[in-house]
């Protein structure tokens, strides 16, 4: 059985099914992270009193490491979009290099994040220490889970890409585009997360 517009664009909506699906998912992710940011704002304006004032992120957190992580994530977005463009142009080996780079950068991000967490723990700063640290660990943790999910999907694509590309190039390009949309969104969340948590 064939599902219409599984692979080709719908003449009216201009997208194939999976692209619409991922965008709908991302729309819900906007509200997912939106709720976390709302929480952050509400906790912040409610800070003070017994629990103490809201700290400046830079005083508690490692800004240089986070800046490096920002650079890493933005670079991974570039390699992701280049991977898609290369595959679209039919350069499979170039695609593989860019795509593997995306995965490695994501792993580097997670490792650095792990060091950051370790540093916080070594200073006896845990999620239970204050509401700032609670929202910091929760937001970055949930973002890290998104990265992990992206890595899992990308690793699967990396190893299945060549075979599927030979069988059905258009489908593979579409898959990479969808994976890319998700990946850029995760990057986009970090772009907001970084200043909000670390710099303000």
């Amino acid at each position: 059985m064939l599902i219409p517009y599984d692979n080709e664009n719908h003449p009216v909506t201009g997208v194939y099914n999976a692209k619409l699906g991922i965008w709908l998912f991302l729309a819900s992710e906007v509200l997912f992270f939106g709720a976390f940011f709302s929480t952050y704002i509400l906790l912040r304006i409610g800070a003070g009193g017994v629990a103490g004032a809201w700290p400046l992120g830079a005083e508690l957190l490692n800004v240089p490491l986070a800046t490096i992580n920002t650079v890493i994530l933005i670079t991974s977005s570039l390699t992701m979009v280049m991977a898609w463009a290369s595959l679209k142009l039919g350069k499979v080996s170039k695609f593989q290099i860019y795509f593997a780079a995306t995965i490695l950068l994501a792993l580097a991000f997670l490792v650095i994040k792990g060091f950051e967490y370790g540093e916080e723990f070594s200073h006896d700063r845990y999620p239970s220490t204050s509401t700032f640290l609670a929202i910091y660990f929760t937001l970055t943790g949930v973002h890290g889970l998104h990265i992990l999910l992206g890595v899992a999907v990308n690793v699967y694509h990396l190893f299945s890409a060549k075979a599927l590309y030979q069988e059905n190039p258009e489908k593979m390009v579409n898959r990479i585009e969808v994976a890319g949309l998700y990946w850029h969104f995760v990057d986009l969340v970090w772009i907001f997360l970084f200043p909000v948590l670390y710099l303000l």
Partner: protein, 116 residues
């Protein structure tokens, strides 16, 4: 994909991707540098959010092809997402501050006179 995604067009796009990448890097440096200036909280928040929004727009518009592709339905859904996102934050804050305003008004109100 649409016919616009020809090989030649894509080659042009690749150049755009690199330009966007460099702009994102520059803006990251700007964000961190501004935070070193220790501006007043309000100004710092404004600058950081404006820069982040510009970066976010670049990622969504170029990397995620929102500027390039045409699919009206998803725009509608994203606009709804954005509206509800703003509504959520705005009304949470409105609720929070209004609650405090009311409590203060009650505390500061002159005591009622005993009815005769």
């Amino acid at each position: 994909m649409s016919a616009e995604h020809t090989a030649e067009h894509l080659q042009q796009q690749v150049r755009v991707y690199f330009i966007v990448f460099i702009s994102l890097m520059v803006l990251t440096v700007v964000t961190v540098a501004v935070s070193r200036l220790h501006l007043p909280v309000g100004a710092a928040i404004a600058v950081a959010l404006v820069v982040a929004s510009v970066k976010g727009t670049l990622v969504a518009g170029i990397f995620m092809h929102l500027f390039h592709d045409k699919f009206p339905f998803i725009f509608k859904v994203l606009i709804f997402s954005a509206i509800f996102f703003i509504v959520m934050i705005a009304l949470f804050m409105f609720g929070y501050f209004d609650t405090f305003a009311s409590e203060r008004a009650i505390l500061e109100a002159p005591a009622l006179e005993e009815p005769h």
